[in-house]
Amino acid sequence: MSEHIVPTRSYYVIYLVLMVCTALTVWVAYLDLGPLNTVAALAIAIFKAVLVILFFMHVKYSSRLTWAVIAGGVFWFLILLTIIGDYLTRAWQPYGSV
């Protein structure tokens, strides 16, 4: 089989980074950054998820098709999130909200 075998050292490095990020996200949550709190929490979460996907799940070494499948999934999730567009624009008109 032609699968790329990742040296275990890189797994340990990623693990360390993930743990540090977990500590970081908890620490940041106790600071008052206004709306930036949510941004920071999501940014750290996305960063962690990307690390897991690229290294633990070997996507860094996978075919373009795998990348396309993941991109498709994320893209469709973003389409789903656009439901919020209705809620944001309802505020522009009276009788729009409860």
């Binding site: 498709g72 999934g73 469709w76 389409i79 439901i83 567009g85 209705d86 624009t89 309802r90």
Partner: protein
């Protein structure tokens, strides 16, 4: 048709193993296709029986045949059965299962055990839903709108939701199986642009299955949680928004319309090519139109909410996107029509269904423009206009495509020919009955008759009687194929490997095909639909 003697091949998938166990434990995609055929036919006739009762009730303006409660349950279960247990699985799970591996020159789908599991999951979901019927019915409409479904209804919402949830996994797994198969199992030389168009549309459908079905699954789960535990998701009493349910519901259920009609479009591409013995006009455009419909179809769910309380601005965006999705559908219709130009056009049964499909789908598609135009939609939505529109797509489109495909590949599936004369008559009856049933509904809808009405004002009676009369004709049309197809299994003439003189890998193997489809793996060196005189003569003889 075959003139010289044809023989049944000594070994084929139908006689490779006998007894009930060899069927219930089979991993052969062709046998699983037949299991699905039994399943979808069963649910089709249940749904059809309910439709019959609905139409009989509506002959008179007063609600006199059944009670209002029963009527509500009838149209709900008609919708649930037809949508989730017939229309969605029909073409992919029966014809797709049978044809996908054969058309790409593979021995089976990528995951045969998963394929069998999908059928069991489908049947399990169906039985759960049937239980909901037997245990007293379901009265929410197939759309399960909250808060009616979560707070007000006293009927069997949970068993039905669970049934649909379970069946959703069958759709997901079948779609996943097709995607992997088409990516990874193509025979040597079978490039993407040599694939028959049926595969392109099946692939596009599978994408929708995989991407959309999980959303309906989670949505129904939330409805069930709200009902069982009184959790709050859509309940206005805790600040929830019932319109959010509609967003999530239609995020799947609008693309689901394309799950139903895209495979039928694929079938029609095959029928038109074989019926005209000609390449499909604009192959690449038809292929990409399938993908365009699959993608754009995910961006238009909000057009079901024009009067439901979504914002004016949201409505405008969904309106323009809905018009865009009409374009690839129009492209397909024009291409099929152009394919007939200078063809060798056959009048055989499958081709009659193809003509019927193109005509009825065109009417369905054009009336869709009425609904995408918000100003008109406000008036006609939730009336019989909508009912007529989507039946033109679902029945005029999907069922015509399904029956056309079934007639086209029946000789391959069974190895036998059916009675062509009876089949032509049935096709004609279905076409006439269908139009008589549903055309009057456009008019009665514009006049203002709301859908889901058990009793209605007397001025709508004439049109309703016409519609019910049409339905009785349609019912005869659906029973006929049942009879002569079954009859052909035993008494039909042997078909030979290529009764239509068509090209395509499925016509190069025997009828019925052997268990692993081909004796030796085919090597493909030609494009789809390459007809030339010698080839056809060779096939026909």
């Amino acid at each position: 048709m075959a003139s010289s003697t044809v023989l049944t091949p000594p070994h084929h998938y139908l006689n490779d193993g006998v007894g009930i166990k060899s069927w219930l434990l089979t991993r052969d995609h062709k046998r699983i296709a037949l299991l699905y055929l039994a399943g979808v036919t069963f649910f089709f006739f249940i749904g059809g029986a309910m439709a019959t009762l609905i139409r009989i009730e509506l002959i008179t303006p007063a609600g006199d045949l059944v009670s209002d409660e029963t009527y509500n349950k009838l149209f709900t279960m008609h919708g649930v059965m037809m949508v989730f247990f017939f229309l969605i699985p029909a073409i992919p799970a029966v014809l797709g299962n049978f044809l996908v591996p054969i058309m790409i020159g593979a021995k089976d789908l990528a995951f045969p055990k998963l394929n069998l599991a999908s059928w069991y999951i489908y049947m399990l979901g169906g039985l759960f839903t049937l239980y909901a019927v037997v245990a007293g019915g379901l009265d929410t409409g197939w759309t399960f709108y909250t808060p009616f479904s979560t707070v007000a209804s006293t009927s069997n919402v949970i068993p039905a939701a669970v049934g649909i949830f379970i069946t959703g996994f069958s759709s997901i797994l079948t779609g996943l199986n097709f995607i992997v198969t088409i990516h990874r199992m193509r025979a040597p030389g079978m490039t993407w642009f040599r694939m028959p168009l049926f595969l392109w549309s099946t692939y596009a459908t599978s994408l929708i299955n995989v991407l959309g079905t999980p959303v309906i699954a989670i949505t129904l789960l939330l409805v069930a949680a709200e009902r069982i535990f009184h959790f709050g998701f859509f309940d206005p009493r805790v600040g929830g928004d019932p319109v959010l349910f509609q967003h999530l519901f239609w995020f799947y259920s609008h693309p689901a319309v394309y799950i139903m009609v895209l495979p039928a479009m694929g079938v029609v591409s095959e029928l038109v090519a074989a019926g005209c013995r000609k390449p499909v006009f604009g192959y690449a455009f038809v292929a990409f139109a399938s993908l365009a419909i699959a993608v754009l179809g995910f961006l238009v769910w909000g057009h079901h909410l024009f009067v439901a309380g979504e914002s004016v601005y949201s409505a405008m965006i969904f309106s323009i996107l809905s018009f865009l999705v009409a374009i690839p559908s129009a492209v397909k219709v024009f291409n099929w029509t152009a394919t007939m130009y200078k063809g060798s056009v056959s009048w055989e049964t499958p081709m009659l269904y193809a003509y019927g499909f193109i005509g009825l789908f065109t009417v369905g598609g054009l009336t869709g423009l009425f609904l995408a135009a918000i100003g008109v939609d406000v008036h006609v939505t939730d009336t019989y206009f909508i009912i007529a529109h989507f039946h033109y797509i679902m029945v005029g489109g999907t069922i015509m495509g399904y029956l056309g495909g079934l007639h086209f590949w029946w000789p391959k599936i069974s190895g036998r020919l059916y009675n062509e004369g009876l089949a032509k008559i049935a096709a004609g009856i279905i076409f006439i009955g269908f139009n008589l049933t549903f055309f009057p509904q456009f008019i009665v809808g514009y006049l203002g008759m709301p859908r889901r009405y058990h009793a209605y004002p007397p001025e709508f009676q004439v049109l309703n009687v016409l519609s019910s009369a049409g339905a009785s004709i349609l019912a005869v049309g659906y029973l006929l194929p049942m009879i002569y197809l079954m009859w052909s299994l035993r008494y039909g003439k042997l078909a030979g490997s290529n009764p239509w003189g068509a090209v395509g890998l499925e016509w190069t193997t025997t009828s019925p095909p052997p268990t692993e489809n081909f004796v030796t793996t085919p090597v493909v060196t030609w494009d789809a639909y390459q007809y030339d005189a010698q080839q056809v003569e060779g096939h026909v003889a």
